[in-house]
C-alpha cells in the first residue's frame, strides 16, 4: 500500500521475511513471524501494537542488536546479515536509537553524553565539542551542557538522548517507546522535536509506540503489529480512516476509551466517526442531535483542531430507536464524515 511518491524515493530499510523465535529453557516464543516492510527515506514510520506484540524485538532487529532467526534486514540496500561485527558497528553509527528510559550515562555530564558517540567515532576533541554543542542547541539544552543527567527532567533527558543519537550524523533514528515515560505535554514537545529533525535534517524516523495518539501526531506511515504479525501497513490517514483488520480497530478503540463506562451503558448500536480533512469544522454532533431530536452518548472523543480542520475520531452510542439512529448516520454522511458501524463495542 505505497503511494507513487514513496515508490520513487529510496528504500532506507527493507524488512524481508523476518522472523524471530526466542528459545528459553522451557518454552519457545515466536516474537515475530514473517514480517515484510519497506521504510522509505524521509518517512516517519510508526510501528504500533499492544504490549508483547513484538515491537521492541522488531526495532532491535533493525540494527541487529537482535539477530533475526529468519529473513533479512537491508539498510540503505545493504543486507545486515552479510556484515561482520566491524561492518555492523559502522552501520549502527548510521542508525541512531533512543529508548523509553533514555539510557544516558549517569556519570557523564550532558555534554559528555553527546560526546560519547563522537569519541567512539574518533572525532578530534575540538571538532567533537563543537558538534556536540550544536546538537545541544538543536534540542534546546545549550545551557545544560555541564549538568549531570540526574539533575534533568525526563523530557530533558530524552532531548539529551536525541542529541546523542544524532551526533554521528545518522540517516535513520529508531525510537523505542521514546515518549512512554513522559507526560502528555512533554510527549508533545518531544514529538515536535522529532518531526523537526525529520524535516530539517531529512532523517528517516521509526517510532515504536503503543499509543495511537503518538502515531496520529507525527507519523506519516504506520504498521500495526499484532501477536508478532504485521496486521496492516500504510499511510496514517488511510489506515486511520479505513482500518481493515480487527487489530487496527482494537487499537483505535483502546486509545482513550473508558472501558468501565462502556460496559455500563445499555444501547447496542454504536458507530465510530472519523474526522478527516474533508470534514467541515462545525459543531456536527450538536447539530445532529438538534436535527434528529434525541441525545447520544459520546463514548470516546479523541479530536484535535489542526489548522481549522477537525482531526480524530469519536465513538457514539446511538438511541435504541433504530429509525432515529439511521437518521443520525445519514446526517453524518451528508457532512462527509466516515461512519463505521461497531459491533460488540458495548458488552
Amino acid at each position: 500500500m505505497e503511494t507513487d511518491n514513496n515508490a520513487m524515493s529510496e528504500v532506507m530499510i527493507r524488512i524481508e521475511g523476518l522472523s524471530k523465535t526466542f528459545r528459553t529453557k522451557d518454552a519457545e516464543v515466536e516474537a515475530l513471524k514473517d514480517i515484510n516492510l519497506d521504510i522509505h527515506a524521509g518517512e516517519i514510520y510508526g510501528i504500533i501494537g499492544m504490549s508483547g506484540a513484538g515491537k521492541s524485538t522488531l526495532v532491535r532487529c533493525l540494527n541487529y542488536l537482535e539477530r533475526p532467526t529468519k529473513g533479512n534486514v537491508y539498510v540503505e540496500g545493504k543486507n545486515l546479515a552479510d556484515m561482520d561485527e566491524r561492518e555492523l558497528r559502522s552501520t549502527r553509527k548510521r542508525i541512531g536509537m533512543i529508548f523509553q528510559h533514555f539510557n544516558l550515562l549517569m556519570q557523564r555530564s550532558v555534554l559528555g553524553n553527546v560526546l560519547f558517540p563522537l569519541e567512539i567515532g574518533k572525532v578530534p576533541g575540538e571538532q567533537a565539542k563543537k558538534k556536540a554543542m550544536e546538537l545541544l542547541g538543536l534540542v534546546g539544552l545549550s545551557d545544560k551542557a555541564g549538568v549531570y543527567p540526574a539533575q534533568l527532567s525526563g523530557g530533558q533527558m530524552q532531548r539529551v538522548a536525541i542529541a546523542r543519537a544524532l551526533a554521528a550524523d545518522p540517516k535513520i533514528l529508531l525510537c523505542d517507546e521514546a515518549t512512554s515515560a513522559l507526560d502528555p505535554a512533554t510527549t508533545k514537545s518531544i514529538l515536535e522535536l522529532l518531526s523537526r529533525i525529520n524535516k530539517e535534517l531529512g532523517i528517516t524516523i521509526v517510532i515504536i509506540t503503543h499509543s495511537m495518539s503518538v502515531v496520529e501526531e507525527v507519523c506519516t506511515h504506520v504498521a500495526i503489529i499484532d501477536g508478532g504479525v504485521l496486521a496492516e501497513t500504510g499511510e496514517v490517514k488511510e489506515v486511520f480512516a479505513h482500518p481493515r483488520t480487527d487489530a487496527a480497530k482494537r487499537l483505535f478503540m483502546e486509545s482513550g476509551a473508558h472501558e468501565g463506562l462502556v460496559t455500563e451503558l445499555k444501547g447496542k448500536h454504536c458507530i465510530r466517526i472519523v474526522f478527516t480533512k474533508n470534514s467541515s469544522f462545525e459543531p456536527v454532533i450538536a447539530n445532529m442531535v438538534l436535527s434528529v431530536g434525541t441525545p447520544v452518548n459520546i463514548l470516546l472523543a479523541d479530536t484535535k483542531d489542526i489548522g481549522g480542520i477537525a482531526h480524530g475520531q469519536m465513538v457514539l452510542q446511538l438511541p435504541e430507536d433504530e429509525e432515529k439512529a439511521q437518521a443520525m448516520v445519514e446526517y453524518l454522511k451528508t457532512r462527509k464524515l466516515d461512519v463505521e458501524e461497531l459491533t460488540d463495542y458495548v458488552q
Partner: protein
C-alpha cells in the same frame, strides 16, 4: 606511657602494615580487575558469552576463596620463596595476601559491573561501540562509585589478613601484637596495636566512602 623506642616501633610497623596492605591490594587489582571483567564478559548474558572461560574462572575464584587465609599462607610458602627469596617478613607476606585478595576482588568487580544498567550498555552498542569501548567507557566509569566502595572493602579486608599474617612472622602491627601481647604479656602494647588497626580501618573506610560519594554524579546536588 610508652618509651620512645616503642612508639617509633609502633609507628614503623603501622607503616609496614600499610605497605603490605596497599601493595598487595594494588597487585591483587592487577589480577582481580581483569578477572572480574572477564567474568562479566564471558557470562551467559554477557557481551561475549564463553561458557568454558566463565566456568574456569568461576571455579578458580571459588576454590581460592574457600581456602582459609592462614592455610593459604602456609600452602604458598614454596611459591613465596621462589618469588621473594624468603618466606617471612612484610614483602614475603605480599604474596599470600595477593593470592587471597585477587579472587575476592574479582567477585567484587564482577558484581559491581553487573549492576550497570543493561539499557545503557544497549545504548552504547546501538551507537556502534565495541566491547573494549563498552568496558572502558561504560561499565567501569558507570560503576565507579561501587568500584571505589569495593576497593575500600578490599583494603580493609586485606588489612585484617595482614594482621593475621603477622601472627606467623609476617611483620607489621599483627606481628607486634603477638610478640608483645601474647609471648611477653605486655598487653598495653597489644592494645595500642589494636587501637592503631581500628584507626587505620576507620580512616580507610572514611576516605573511601568520601571519595566514592564525591565522584558520584547520580545524586542531585
Amino acid at each position: 606511657m610508652f618509651s620512645e623506642k616503642i612508639i617509633s616501633m609502633l609507628f614503623e610497623n603501622t607503616l609496614i602494615t600499610l605497605y603490605m596492605t596497599v601493595a598487595s591490594t594494588l597487585i591483587a587489582y592487577v589480577i582481580g580487575l581483569p578477572m572480574g571483567i572477564l567474568l562479566v564478559l564471558s557470562a551467559k548474558d554477557g557481551l561475549r558469552p564463553n561458557a568454558v572461560l566463565y566456568k574456569a574462572l568461576d571455579v578458580i575464584v571459588n576454590l581460592l576463596r574457600s581456602i582459609p587465609f592462614l592455610i593459604l599462607l602456609v600452602l604458598v610458602i614454596p611459591l613465596t620463596r621462589a618469588i621473594v627469596g624468603k618466606s617471612y617478613g612484610p614483602t614475603a607476606t605480599i604474596v599470600p595476601l595477593t593470592i587471597a585478595a585477587a579472587p575476592f576482588i574479582a567477585r567484587l568487580v564482577e558484581s559491581s559491573l553487573r549492576e550497570v544498567d543493561p539499557g545503557v550498555v544497549e545504548a552504547a552498542k546501538s551507537m556502534g561501540a565495541d566491547n573494549f569501548n563498552i568496558v572502558t567507557k561504560v561499565l567501569i566509569p558507570e560503576a565507579r562509585t561501587a568500584l571505589i566502595t569495593d576497593a575500600t572493602v578490599a583494603l580493609v579486608t586485606i588489612l585484617g589478613y595482614s594482621a593475621m599474617a603477622g601472627t606467623v612472622g609476617g611483620g607489621g602491627l599483627g606481628d607486634i601484637a603477638i610478640q608483645y601481647g601474647y609471648y611477653r604479656y605486655q598487653t598495653d602494647i597489644m592494645f595500642a596495636t589494636v587501637i592503631l588497626l581500628v584507626l587505620l580501618v576507620q580512616i580507610l573506610q572514611w576516605a573511601g566512602m568520601r571519595l566514592a560519594r564525591a565522584l558520584d554524579r547520580r545524586v542531585r546536588s
